[in-house]
């Protein structure tokens, strides 16, 4: 404490008054707390920390970063509390201005960036070290110290690729989002387990059909819950044998709170990309406390409700996959099939079926599913209610002079006047270097410059007017589409999104660190094993780029002829022992 008192005033530290009147601090120009209401933020953060500690049954909590007001509100945690604050300046500023006398009576505070000093604390030699949680801002300020400490809580952790299980929904528009996320994470070098739940889709459809009989409708929810439990148990079974570092679930993924809680007990970090309108899809509130982080697409309006529900929310807008949505040359046959002045591709939501007929006279073609098959739609749909693959969708985009993009709404008659988030189609059309005319959205200008990278409309008259104008001005269309394409490629791919997501998770309050050894590739072992001809012969049976995990060993050994060789058996022994150890380490091994 004396050292803190004597510390000279840190020029990096700025003390400010927040709008609520409470103290707010900026460190190195970066806001340490909310500039609006830091006390409320601290209250929520403290509640979050206490709940995480409670869930983990941790009697010891190590808090990285002291925050400004957080410690005042951490009375719900009654175990041993160690706070490590890397910045002496911040500690001094807080201690001078915030009354922490009650809190300090029950916590131990270690200040400074000296790792050795922090590690001298007895907690780091205790058998049960408890739980390490971090103030995101402190983690951002002193990443190296944080990771070095986290290593003590997660032995074997290294700043290396993560083992990620991407959990898709059973059906719907978020399935391709999950697939694209998995591809992007793989491209970023992470080990990705793509979970295919398509086998359960027929079961879900059967439940849906059953519920259409009005007498059986009340059963629908319990049947869906039952199916969710089956899927959850199946996934848990797999993950208990070999837990990933991160579960990255995409909106609609069939994981219930019980399953998520048990995943948390396995030490798996749980993230959800809720890429839906929170006002329409309400199920997020049941899951809010079960995920460590919820990524969402409505930064302004959803952040508050998420916080109130006890969730840690991080905005993560939609994106596109440049391998799927890209400029292409169409064949003459494709041109014959798809070429048109204006097209719209999407599902037949209420607002769209109200809005679009007014444009049929301008030659609008409609693609997608769930549209009424009666007039006037029957005449405007060359492929009525056919689900288009991503490749065909890209052909439709590229073959249309103007692509109309109208965000869906189940209640508006046309354009949603309070629409905020930007749909994937916006990014996909930009990625395909296609000119688009999109309904006005509050967040659109965060991603594209309106007028130079895309065009918008606020009502049907403006839409008609701009359609006419841009059909007559092909050069302007190309220029705008090219600008959008450049912007999309440099900022809006799923790879960008996944980079942001992993960074946010790494800087979030729950440490996300690879917990297990990252296995070598088959090729790297082959290179190093010149004097092991038996082993080399086995390993050359599988792709050199493959990670040398249990599956690769099974494949290599199983591809051999005749009785097992000694080296094959030794590899099997390593595989079996490794999987047994994983299970044993989770279970402990008392008498």
């Amino acid at each position: 404490m004396e050292r803190i008192r004597r510390a000279s005033t840190d020029s990096d530290i700025e003390t400010l008054t927040a709008r609520s009147g409470a103290l707010s601090i900026r460190v190195g120009g970066v806001q340490e707390t909310s500039a609006e209401d830091p006390e409320q933020e601290a209250r929520e953060l403290a509640q979050y920390f206490a709940e995480r500690a409670h869930e983990a049954a941790a009697r010891r909590l190590v808090l990285f970063g002291m925050g400004v007001h957080t410690l005042r509100f951490l009375s719900d945690f009654d175990g041993q509390l160690l706070v490590i604050e890397p910045s002496i300046g911040l500690a001094r500023a807080v201690l001078e201005r915030v009354d922490l006398s009650q809190a300090l009576a029950r916590i131990q505070l270690v200040v400074g960036e000296d790792l050795a000093e922090a590690l001298r604390h007895p907690i780091f030699t205790a058998r049960e070290r408890g739980l390490l949680l971090a103030h995101p801002s402190a983690r951002h300020r002193a990443r190296a110290l944080h990771d070095a400490l986290a290593e003590r809580f997660h032995p074997g952790g290294t700043p290396s690729p993560l083992d990620v299980a991407v959990i898709p929904p059973l059906y719907g528009g978020a399935v391709p989002v999950a697939e694209a996320s998995a591809r992007a994470l793989t491209a970023l070098g992470h080990r990705v387990r793509e979970i295919d739940l398509s086998a359960f889709w027929p079961a879900f459809q059967e439940i849906f059909r059953t519920a259409q009989d009005g007498r059986l409708a009340p059963l629908s929810e319990s049947l869906r819950d039952g199916l969710g439990r089956v899927i959850g148990e199946m996934l848990l079974g797999r993950f208990e044998l070999d837990p990933p570092d991160l579960i990255f679930a995409v909106a609609g993924a069939p994981l219930d709170p019980q399953t998520l809680d048990r995943l948390g007990q396995l030490g798996v970090t749980r993230a959800l990309w809720f890429c839906e309108d929170f006002r329409v899809m309400r199920y997020w509130s049941d899951l809010a406390r079960s995920y460590d982080t919820i990524f969402h697409i409505q930064p302004d309006d959803f952040a508050g409700p998420l916080r109130e529900a006890g969730a840690y929310g991080v905005p993560l807008p939609m994106g596109f996959d440049p391998d799927l949505h890209r400029p292409i040359e169409l064949s003459s046959e494709e041109r014959r099939r798809y070429e048109c002045d204006v097209s719209f591709l999407g599902a037949g939501y209420h607002n769209r079926s109200q809005f679009l007929p007014a444009l049929f006279s301008m030659g609008l073609r409609v693609y997608g599913t769930e549209w009424p098959l009666t007039a006037p739609f029957s005449t405007a749909m060359p492929e009525p209610n056919i689900r288009q693959s991503s490749a065909d969708a890209n052909r439709i985009f590229n073959a249309s002079r103007i692509n109309l993009n109208l965000h869906s709404s189940p209640w508006c008659d046309g354009i949603n006047p309070v629409g905020d988030f930007v749909n994937p189609r916006t990014f996909e059309l930009a990625g395909a270097r296609c000119f688009q005319l999109v309904d006005e959205r509050r967040d659109l200008s965060r991603f594209f410059e309106i007028g130079t990278e895309l065009e918008t409309f606020a009502d049907i008259d403006e839409c008609r007017e701009k359609l006419r104008y841009y059909l007559d001005h092909p050069d302007e269309r190309s220029e705008i589409a090219a600008a959008a394409h450049r912007r999309a490629l440099s900022e809006h791919t799923y790879r960008h999104r996944m980079e942001s997501a992993i960074e946010a998770l790494s800087a979030g309050p729950v440490p996300l660190i690879p917990r297990r050894n990252v296995l070598p590739s088959v090729g790297s072992v082959l290179e190093a094993s010149e004097d092991e001809p038996g082993l080399r012969e086995i390993l050359t049976r599988v792709d050199a780029d493959r990670v040398l995990d249990g599956d690769a060993i099974s494949l290599a050994v199983g591809s051999g002829d005749g009785p097992l060789t000694r080296d094959e058996k030794l590899l099997l022994l390593m595989r079996e022992a490794r999987s047994e150890i994983t299970v044993l380490n989770e279970a402990g091994d008392p008498a």
Partner: protein, 548 residues
């Protein structure tokens, strides 16, 4: 027989359960060397086992570090594993038993140098196989837990050809361990050892239940001392227990004993209160009476103490014991033994009175360990009750499988007597206490088995052309499927399907006639079992006595 090896890479409780096999082998082969291969952390336990000439260690912890440490190199790990196997392979075994139920141990067994192996092994293609019929029967034991009733020690003894050899659990307690116990425990007071944790949470009884029982016991036997034992990870449980029992006098040794010292401590105690744990087997081996609460995964029929006169409590709830893959969110079985009743039971053990005269519990059975006329461990219920269907079938299966596994002659009258003795059920009432249709299903199983047997024998006798062989193969496959379907359709018949499945999966790698002959034998065994069960359940009016 020069050298016999036993591979046991399990926990110390399982090691202690191999002591009857060790003693039996020692008697049968007095001049042979007996080697034990164990995990390093259980070497101390292995040193207490009698009749072992040499102990080989596998340092599982070091291996674990090597295989999961991010800094270790794959090639180094490969070479270390090879070195470990090479060192073990220097010893040539005439016979090597594997009593570890893991695939790791099966791969290891296949790598070691033995003329003959018994237990979990690999075939030439790397699939797991179990040739010994007793160990094959483990799959029924594990998957049809309510109707298959053999103690694990009897399975081991059967696998070693020693069934009914009369050898008990036994460990040699080192003098230093006895001295430790003398020093740490008071004299002249009743000592009740309490083991709170278990190898998995799904076997451990709730701490709150222990606490209520000890509080009640302290009221009945105020001079009693509760001796808390366990591993360091169980200290928190001990802390919770002590907080909940302010009136109980404790001697806390949790995390403070080696395995040998634990043996010394348990030997000094008058009774051990525990769930299904290694400490329970240790108590059986040092002659201390146990009172074991089997909850969750614990099944007294499989793992009760292999010695006479121990007490096991087992819930009568419909789901007990848990299936091995079950994850119970509502462990109601923990609530089925009232604290006051349990305290009275332990008090009677301490006073040398018969606990069997306590009133019956509505939701739990009190079972006493004993040995049956074949020398197999049996559990005798302290109170006669109306049987549940699986109770009756378990009596039948135990005799039917003993005939095929150990060649013990089976007497229908003896089985019926057993039904009368345990449950008061006379032969003519068996069928009405069992689900309708069971006799008809057994008849269909018998017929299916007969078809399978005939097809397999034709295949074994003749020299079929490829088309004939294919037809016979198809017919056999149909018989297999039909058998499994019938057996799965009635849970009480599951062991019949499981036993055929386990036997066919482990057929030897041999010529077609040999495999066909073995398949025919397995079908014949199935037919025999189904016929016997049918005779037991629905006795033929003219048939008496020995089954044919």
């Amino acid at each position: 027989m020069k050298r016999i090896g036993i591979l046991n890479l399990t926990r110390f409780g399982d090691l202690i359960q191999t002591t009857p096999v060790l003693a039996g082998l020692r008697k049968r082969h007095p001049d042979a060397e007996i080697h034990l291969i164990v995990k390093t952390r259980f070497r101390e336990a292995a040193e207490m086992l009698p009749g072992v000439d040499e102990i080989h260690e596998i340092d599982g912890d070091a291996l674990a570090r090597l295989l999961v440490d991010p800094d270790s190199n794959f090639l180094d790990a490969f070479r270390t594993v090879r070195y470990l196997v090479d060192e073990l392979s220097r010893v040539h075994f005439d016979v090597l038993f594997n009593f570890t139920h893991s695939r790791t141990s099966a791969v290891l067994l296949s790598l070691l140098d033995a003329d003959h192996t018994v237990g979990y092994d690999l075939d030439r293609r790397g699939s797991r196989r179990v040739e010994n019929p007793w160990l094959q029967h483990m799959s029924s034991l594990v998957r049809a837990r309510r109707v298959t009733r053999y103690n694990l020690v009897d399975i081991y003894l059967g696998a070693a050809g020693l069934i009914g050899c009369g050898e008990p659990l036994y460990v040699q307690v080192p003098p230093r361990a006895r001295a430790f116990a003398l020093e740490r425990l008071p004299a002249n007071v009743p000592l009740v050892a309490v083991q709170l944790g278990a190898s998995t949470d799904t076997k451990a009884w709730a701490v709150s239940r222990y606490a209520e029982s000890l509080n009640a016991l302290a009221r009945l036997v105020p001079e009693m001392r509760a001796v808390l034992v366990g591993v360091p990870a169980e200290k928190q449980l001990a802390h919770e227990l002590r907080n909940a029992c302010p009136e109980v006098a404790f001697e806390e040794l949790v995390g403070e004993t080696s395995i040998a010292e634990l043996a010394g401590v348990i030997e000094r105690c008058d009774v051990l209160l525990t769930a299904d744990t290694g400490t329970m087997h240790l108590a059986g081996a040092v002659g201390t009476t146990t009172c074991s609460i089997f909850v969750g995964l614990g099944n007294p029929w499989e793992t009760a103490v292999y010695a006479e006169g121990h007490w096991a409590l087992s819930s009568r709830i419909g789901c007990a014991p848990c299936h091995h893959f079950a994850k119970c969110g509502f462990p109601a079985c923990h609530e089925d033994v009232p604290a006051d009743w349990l305290a009275e039971l332990i008090a009677r053990i301490l006073r040398g009175e018969d606990p069997g005269t306590l009133p019956a519990l509505p939701r739990a059975d009190l079972l006493r360990t004993s040995f049956d006329e074949h020398g197999l461990l049996d559990l005798l219920p302290a109170h006669r009750r109306a049987p549940r269907p699986h109770d009756l079938m378990a009596v039948a299966y135990r005799a039917v499988f003993l005939e095929s596994l150990a060649g013990r002659p089976l007497s229908l009258e003896q089985i019926w007597r057993e039904g009368e003795r345990r449950y008061g059920v006379s032969p003519q009432h068996w069928a009405e206490l069992l689900p309708g249709g069971i006799v008809e299903r057994l008849h269909r199983l018998e017929e299916t088995a007969r078809s399978g047997e005939e097809a397999a024998r034709r295949l074994a006798r003749g020299r079929p052309d490829p088309a004939e062989a294919r037809r016979a193969g198809d017919l056999l496959r149909q018989c297999d499927e039909r058998t499994y379907d019938i057996a799965r359709s009635e849970p009480l018949l599951a062991p019949l399907g499981l036993s055929l499945e386990a036997a066919l999966e482990s057929l030897p790698e041999a010529s077609l006639p040999v495999i066909a002959q073995r398949s025919a034998d397995e079908y014949a065994a199935l037919r025999r079992r189904a016929a016997l069960l049918r005779d037991i359940i629905a006795p033929h009016p003219t048939r008496k006595g020995l089954a044919t």
